[in-house]
């Protein structure tokens, strides 16, 4: 038996010519809240469909709750609750009747406790008052809640939620977050997909990032943060800028033009992501400014002052940050400010999945 609630190896799905999922090796530890992150069209839902036996994999192996899928589907699925690509209900039935219907479909669910379990699930998602209302009359958010209630109908070992906060109001989003935490505290593994980083960052212990059908990063949130690039920023008088540039380049930190604050992306890439090693980020790291930049001591709100320039470079792991300052000072550069910037997950996400508005094809 493995300690993974979900494990895939080389999972691949091809729709005609298009590779929707391409060689994905997922490892979702038991008891984790696992964020499955990726922009629209990156293959999250398709992966989830394969995990649950709805679609067959073109290639690759799947184990869910320690058993092979889809071969052991009938044994595995009773322990799995799922919300897949939005809710789906009979509009002409009430919310409660819909849940009873889906529970009756589960051949393993005891009929005796059905009513109680339906009530309980509705209560957990705050739909008790709308239980008797036809789903036709539900708002999108209410349907979404009902979908989550369906996933909670029976005690589960694994709950898969595909974009659970779609269509929810901020209050609903908070409730879902809370619900996921409480499920996790009961020991249930929660696998939650989202295209919103903030959501994942707030509730997950682990995450994986999908891009264009490929899994580009996977690990604990901390590991992922570490996998991001660390930048060093130096504030120097304009007169010292060229000397500083030379010294930094010699150290292996060739300065690059500053990225604009609104789009704090770095170069795509990031081989070796998901690595577990690496030094801890600076404990006394600077606080993010509202723009997302890290302010340097002495730097004004509008950036570098008159007659000053900011040099920014990727700080390789091999170079200690204090050595950078020492080298600059030794080289006669009047360092007016120095900061090390730990990449945010957002930087990482954007770096991994690309920017732009176009859906990856």
């Amino acid at each position: 038996m493995s300690d993974f609630a979900i494990e895939t190896a080389g999972l691949t799905k091809r729709f005609g010519k298009q590779l929707a999922v391409d060689g994905v090796d997922l490892a979702v530890p038991e008891g984790s809240v696992f964020g499955f992150l990726g922009p629209n069209g990156s293959g999250k839902t398709t992966t989830i469909r394969m995990l649950l036996g709805l679609a067959s994999a073109t290639a690759g192996d799947i184990r869910v709750l320690g058993q092979a899928m889809p071969r052991r589907l009938a044994n595995v699925l009773p322990g799995v609750g799922a919300l897949i690509e939005g809710p789906g209900f009979y509009p002409f039935l009430s919310g409660a009747a819909n849940l009873r219907r889906l529970d009756a479909a589960d051949g393993f669910a005891p009929a005796a406790s059905r009513a109680a379990r339906v009530d309980h699930a509705l209560e957990r998602v705050g739909l008790t008052h709308a239980a008797g209302k036809k789903v036709r009359a539900y708002s999108l958010g209410m349907k979404q809640r009902l979908g989550i209630a369906n996933a909670l109908l029976a005690p589960r070992e694994l709950i898969v939620l595909d974009e659970p906060t779609n269509g929810l109001d901020p209050q609903g989003t908070r409730e879902v977050r809370h619900l996921i935490r409480s499920l996790a505290s009961e020991g249930t593994t929660v696998f939650v997909s989202s295209h919103l980083l903030a959501e994942i960052e707030q509730m997950c212990t682990h995450a994986a990032v999908m891009s264009g059908g490929r899994l580009v990063a996977q690990g604990t949130l901390d590991e992922l943060r570490l996998a991001g690039q660390t930048r060093a920023r130096v504030l120097v008088p304009a007169a010292d800028a060229s000397r500083a540039t030379r010294i930094l380049t010699d150290l292996g930190l060739p300065p690059e033009p500053e990225p604009a604050p609104a789009t704090p992306g770095t170069q795509p890439g990031g081989a070796g992501l998901g690595a577990t090693s690496g030094t801890r980020g600076s404990a006394n790291g600077p606080l993010p400014t509202p723009e997302g930049h890290f302010a340097l001591p002495g730097e004004g709100a509008g950036g570098a002052g008159v007659g000053e320039s900011v040099l920014s470079a990727v700080l390789p792991e091999s170079v200690a940050r204090e050595d950078v300052v020492a080298a600059l000072v030794a080289g006669g550069v009047r360092v007016r400010g120095f900061a090390v910037q730990q990449a945010s997950l957002e930087d990482l996400f954007v770096a991994l999945t690309g920017e732009g508005f176009d859906v990856v094809q």
């Binding site: 649950l52 009773p78 051949g107 393993f108 406790s113 379990r117 589960r156 020991g187």
Partner: protein, 308 residues
């Protein structure tokens, strides 16, 4: 299905990652009394029937079917009927109200019954795909074969309901508007009202049997698409094509193989003695259709990617 091991349950509340030890997969006794074997499906079948009969659409179709004998009876009553130009059965209604139901069946068999059956059978899988409930049923897990069987059984129940609706509405309106008495059979012999009601029931069973093959075709088509309207239309069109082929002398070799071949032979139950051969032939033919199209539906659905 290959094992009876009950699905593993979650560890007690507040257990951490470490506590969710692998051995919880072993099947510890379940706090909520989870079944250790999958239920046979009667509960789900009941649920399927309740979904079917809680739809307004189903009731609208049954009401339309019930309206057929009522319209026929009222029209004949109003015009004083019996001018000898209609089908043979029509003439008899004025003599005996019990013929209304049978006349209505003759009228409904070519189009109205296949239409309603096509709607229900064509909707069976495609409709679930369309509402998005199919994926939730499947991860419940309902079991794909179990779902097909239950869907098919529900469609068959609808066939019976539809036929009985026509027959019963006809008998009731006939009793209300026309004299009722011993019924003259096609052979010229008469049977009592009681026996004629029994034969009406037999006819309803016969007509239902005749529709189960079409239901199997509808079920198969329904597994091919996510668009229920398309599946319904295709099923109805096939029933019409089958009847047209049954009329063409060029396709005579094909006739006994068409599922509509025996449709109007329910009159064999109105002979004295009852001619059972068409009943048996009908049952066998329909069984063949159910086997072939049931297997096709299984082949398609068991391996189908559910992407709706």
């Amino acid at each position: 299905m290959s094992s009876d091991t009950p699905p593993a349950r979650i560890a007690p509340a507040a257990a951490g990652v470490e506590a969710a030890a692998p051995d919880t997969h072993g099947g510890a006794p379940d706090l909520l009394g989870r079944r250790s074997r999958r239920a046979l499906g009667w509960g789900f079948f009941a649920s399927e029937l309740s979904v079917l009969f809680r739809r307004r659409r189903t009731w609208a179709m049954l009401a339309a079917l019930a309206a057929i004998p009522i319209l026929i009876a009222v029209a004949i009553r109003v015009t004083d009927g019996g001018d000898g130009r209609g089908p043979a059965f029509l003439d008899r209604i004025t003599q005996n109200g019990l013929f209304v139901g049978m006349t209505a069946l003759v009228v409904s068999i070519p189009l109205f019954l296949p239409l309603t059956v096509g709607v229900v059978a064509g909707d069976s899988i495609a409709g679930e795909a369309n509402t998005g409930t199919l994926r939730y049923l499947l991860v419940s897990p309902v079991g794909r074969i179990r779902l097909l069987v239950v869907k098919y059984a529900a469609a068959a129940v609808f066939c019976l309901t539809a036929t009985v609706t026509v027959s019963l509405a006809g008998i009731l309106i006939g009793i209300a508007l026309f004299p009722v008495g011993p019924v003259t059979l096609l052979s010229g012999d008469s049977v009592s009202v009681g026996e004629s009601l029994l034969r009406s029931l037999l006819i309803a069973v016969y007509v239902t049997l005749g529709l189960v093959g079409l239901s199997a075709i509808g079920l198969f088509i329904s597994t091919l698409t996510d668009a229920p309207v398309g599946a319904m239309a295709a099923t109805v069109v096939i029933s019409i094509v089958s009847q047209v082929l049954g009329q063409l002398s060029q396709t005579e070799w094909l006739h006994p193989w068409l599922f509509s071949y025996y449709w109007l032979d329910f009159a064999d139950l109105l002979r004295q003695p009852i001619e059972w051969s068409s009943f048996g032939g009908n049952a066998l033919l329909q069984l063949g259709y159910v086997a072939v199209f049931g297997a096709l539906a299984y082949g398609r659905f068991a391996s189908k990617d559910v992407l709706s």
